[in-house]
């Protein structure tokens, strides 16, 4: 064990590194054969807000043969101290060097954490390159949404798990434990792992390049599956709902209990990757959620329980769930919250139920400023529904409303940008008409840049040019002179980099190494993001980032992520892409009309709604 205590007085927020939180699991090191470190490549406060960590922590630590401990990206002050004193990166539970673990499992939530992954490997004394790791070096594995285009990270990882991890992690740990007991060599262990459905071992796939050096195809080695299909937990009852999560001792980004009410979302927003990769919808039964929600509140002492999912207002039993939870929670003033609301009056009705305990800002995501563009992206929100929602919100006593939009969407015009400002001002006018005092009315307009993501109908689309994005932001800023409106936006340079990696190929591994050499890490944090260092890194690697970000793929082009199978068929994505250009809607299959995306047939299951309602797929 390392002397972590002596470091703590020198760093900001030492609570990030102490461990020892309530429900943290500290197993006997010597008695547990398999040791896994779960690595979150961002700071503690971000990582501890992540439900996936809590689920896997519970699932893995329930195994007698395995222990799981946590490690987060050290903040730059701690990193400097570790380097200066030559102390290796350590786990929170037992303060042991990460290098002493058998498996190092990174969750990949966001492209701009990739340099943190490499930095954490460096700080652990683990060679970042998988091909250089031998013998008893930890097996470095990855999962999470970014694993659906694993290629930019392929050279750093021994394997990736595609899709939901709860079940496949057991198969993987069984194989690892068995293999190690039998003295199986690292390479053979990886070959055995590649036979587990959902496991992608990048070293067993070769990338073929065209004569000009550009990506042509990914080809499996003999005997290795050509495509890796995502794993999901088919039966909603078997999706773990942790009720004894580790409770952080310092305030986190989402400092509340999380109750996951369903997985998957089939609203079909054409820019949304989560909507594709977590298909189909699997709702939890009401009674299970009530029992788990009550246990969660009682065991944690949180004053707020968040009903989490990709689109929580869509849960078919939402009002009974909220009302029945609140009736138990009311004496101790525990609140129930939703991550965001649909822009319609029903959502406000829902919010009114929620607000019986606690008041906050209401957040809606119309995503685009005009009906035409909302039809293009298949965001089923109308101006009237949005204004009705705003009117209902103001009538119910809210003064603060937040609206989310995207800029740089395919087919977007200046008129669509102006539409954002127009819609925002209409919401303000509704507020005035509702009699909200002038000085109390507040509207936040938040814009992010559309980023084409792998496996979505917009995967073939380019990112809008950085200068164009900046121009759109400036255009909007000029239209938000009203002091009651707060306008914020995402840095287009960060979006540019995110776009490069979201659709990148294996060659980008070199860029990541160069960027690390230039000191890049915490790229998602404005104070540490350095675009110029990144441009230098691309230059040294001989690659042009613009080619990646601004590329419009042809339907005939092979895509670097073609060997990863989400279960949604390509024809559906092409059809959706074309419907976008015709501004034609595609409806949510929750309503019973199957749009034949293919996920149910390929995974052999059906969408599941609470209380036995089931949609029939084609």
């Amino acid at each position: 064990m390392l002397d972590v205590e002596s470091l703590l007085r020198w760093v900001e927020k030492p609570g990030r590194y102490t461990g020892g939180e309530l429900n943290a699991v500290k197993k006997n090191w010597e008695d547990t054969p398999v040791k896994l470190a779960f690595a979150f490549p961002d700071v503690y406060e971000v990582g501890m807000s992540h439900l996936g960590l809590q689920i896997l922590y519970a699932v893995v630590n329930a195994r007698a043969d395995t222990l799981m401990e946590r490690v987060f990206a050290p903040w730059p002050d701690m990193e400097a101290l570790l380097r200066e004193r030559q102390i290796p990166l350590f786990s929170l539970e037992s303060h042991r060097p990460v290098k002493d673990f058998d498996i190092l499992a990174f969750t990949l939530q966001y492209e701009l954490t990739y340099t943190n992954v490499i930095n954490m490997l460096e700080l652990s004394g683990v060679n970042p390159l998988a091909s250089e790791r031998t013998g008893d070096a930890p097996l470095v594995i990855g999962g999470g949404p970014c694993a659906f285009n694993p290629e930019p990270l392929a050279c750093f990882f021994d394997l990736f798990v595609i899709g939901e991890g709860e079940e496949v992690i057991h198969e993987l740990l069984d194989a690892y434990h068995r293999g190690r007991r039998d003295g199986v060599k690292r390479g053979d262990l990886l070959s055995a792992a590649a036979a587990i459905p959902g496991v992608y071992v990048p070293s067993l796939y070769s990338v073929v390049y065209r004569p000009d050096g550009k990506f042509a195809a990914v080809e499996p080695h003999p005997g290795i599956p050509a495509r890796v299909s995502k794993r999901i937990v088919k039966d909603a009852d078997r999706i773990p709902i942790p009720v004894d999560p580790v409770i952080p001792t310092i305030e986190t980004v989402h400092d509340r209990g999380v109750l996951e009410i369903f997985r998957g979302c089939t609203r079909g927003c054409r820019f949304c990757q989560a909507g594709i990769i977590y298909r189909p919808v699997r709702e939890q039964e009401l009674e299970r959620l009530l029992a788990q929600g009550r246990a969660l509140a009682k065991n944690t002492g949180y004053d707020e329980i968040s009903l989490s999912s990709l689109s929580s207002v869509d849960y078919s039993q939402l009002l009974p769930l909220i009302d029945r939870l609140l009736s138990t929670f009311r004496p101790e003033r525990v609140g129930v919250s939703l991550p965001s609301l649909r822009a319609d009056a029903f959502s406000v009705e829902v919010a009114r139920h929620l607000r019986q305990v606690r008041k906050s800002t209401l957040t809606f995501a119309p995503e685009a400023g005009t009906q035409r563009l909302r039809d293009v992206v298949n965001k089923e929100v109308t101006r009237d529904a949005m204004l009705d929602a705003a009117a209902a919100a103001f009538a119910a006593g809210w003064f603060r409303v937040k609206l989310y939009f995207m800029i740089g969407l395919p087919t977007e015009t200046e008129g669509d940008i102006d539409g954002i400002a127009l819609l925002a001002h209409e919401v303000l006018q509704v507020g005035e008409r509702s009699g909200i005092p002038r000085n109390r009315l507040r509207l936040t307009v938040s814009t992010s840049c559309f980023i084409p993501k792998a496996h979505t109908p917009f995967q073939w689309e380019p990112l809008a040019h950085i200068e164009e994005l900046k121009g759109k932001i400036t255009r909007l800023r000029k239209q938000f002179k009203d002091r009651r409106v707060e306008f914020d936006w995402h840095d287009p340079h960060m979006s540019f980099l995110e776009a490069v990696f979201a659709r990148g190929d294996r060659r980008l591994g070199q860029v990541l190494l160069e960027a690390r050499k230039n000191g890049c890490r915490f790229d998602g944090w404005r104070e540490y993001f350095s675009f110029s260092q990144w441009l230098k890194a691309f230059g040294r690697a001989g690659l042009d980032p613009a080619e990646y970000a601004y590329r419009r793929f042809d339907y005939r082009n092979a895509l670097p992520w073609d060997h990863i199978d989400t279960g949604v068929n390509r024809e559906f994505l092409v059809e959706e892409h074309q419907r976008a250009y015709r501004a034609e809607p595609t409806y949510d299959c929750r309503r019973g009309n199957c749009e034949a995306c293919g996920v149910c047939t390929s995974l052999d299951l059906e969408p599941h709604l609470a209380e036995g309602e089931t949609c029939v797929s084609l």
């Binding site: 939180e21 309530l22 409770i247 004053d303 008041k359």
Partner: protein
């Protein structure tokens, strides 16, 4: 509304969390314990839990104080039996005592805090050097230190806030004990006193090299220090 004064220790991993995080941890523990907390009215109801005096990150609290208000009366023993097991590692409940609802507010009652400070220092720190440093500090008319505030630093005179100070060098270790003015007016921090001793005594070292313990909180009643809690 029923008012209870609790003494507790703060050490272990929780030594490294700040005041607001401590308040959150305490509140969650009270809810886990199923205590009938008394809540404020309004849209954002908060339980009434009041700490005597914030404890800085890293300082070990040996006899810290907090008051918890309940809707329903419980015995001191029952409160302790329910809350103690619900506290996270690093918080230990020492005692519980019901206090009169009308008793003076806890935060306003705090006038003095006592601290113990320990650390290893450089080889030039001899018993004689420490003794003369201590004499210099105690003999000084004023001691200016730069106190960090929101934007920048403010110069403060801490001399009148040092009620008593003892410092000894034993086997290369520097041990200090001090009583400092505390609370809403004229509060002095122990690391400021250590900084003053090192600077005025010409001793090497950094206040951050030391381990700090807060050993007690006191009120002053007709010139006498009376322990709170």
């Amino acid at each position: 509304m029923y008012r209870y004064r609790l003494t507790f220790r703060k050490d272990g991993p929780l030594r490294w969390i700040g005041h607001l995080d401590l308040a959150r941890a305490f509140e969650r523990a009270c809810r886990r314990a199923g205590l009938p907390l008394f809540y404020s009215e309004g849209f954002n109801p908060r339980p009434r839990i009041v700490f005597a005096l914030p404890l800085r990150v890293g300082v070990i609290g040996l006899r810290e104080l907090v008051e918890v208000y309940l809707r329903v009366p419980v015995t001191n023993e029952a409160l302790k039996a329910r809350l103690a097991p619900a506290l996270p590692e690093g918080l230990a409940l020492e005692s519980v005592r019901r206090v009169q609802r009308e008793a003076p507010a806890l935060m306003a009652a705090v006038d003095r805090a006592t601290y113990r400070v320990e650390g290893t220092t450089g080889p030039e720190v001899t018993p004689e050097a420490v003794r003369s440093g201590l004499q210099a500090v105690l003999g000084a008319g004023e001691i200016k230190i730069a106190r960090k505030i929101k934007d920048g630093a403010k110069e403060c005179d801490i001399r009148s806030g040092i009620i008593s100070l003892d410092a000894r060098c034993i086997n290369g270790r520097l041990n200090m004990a001090m009583t400092l003015r505390a609370g809403q007016q004229g509060n002095v921090r122990p690391e400021e006193v250590v900084e003053a001793l090192l600077r005025i005594g010409g001793l090497s070292g950094d206040p951050l090299d030391f381990t700090y313990y807060r050993t007690g909180l006191f009120t002053v009643l007709s010139d006498r220090m009376v322990r709170l809690g």
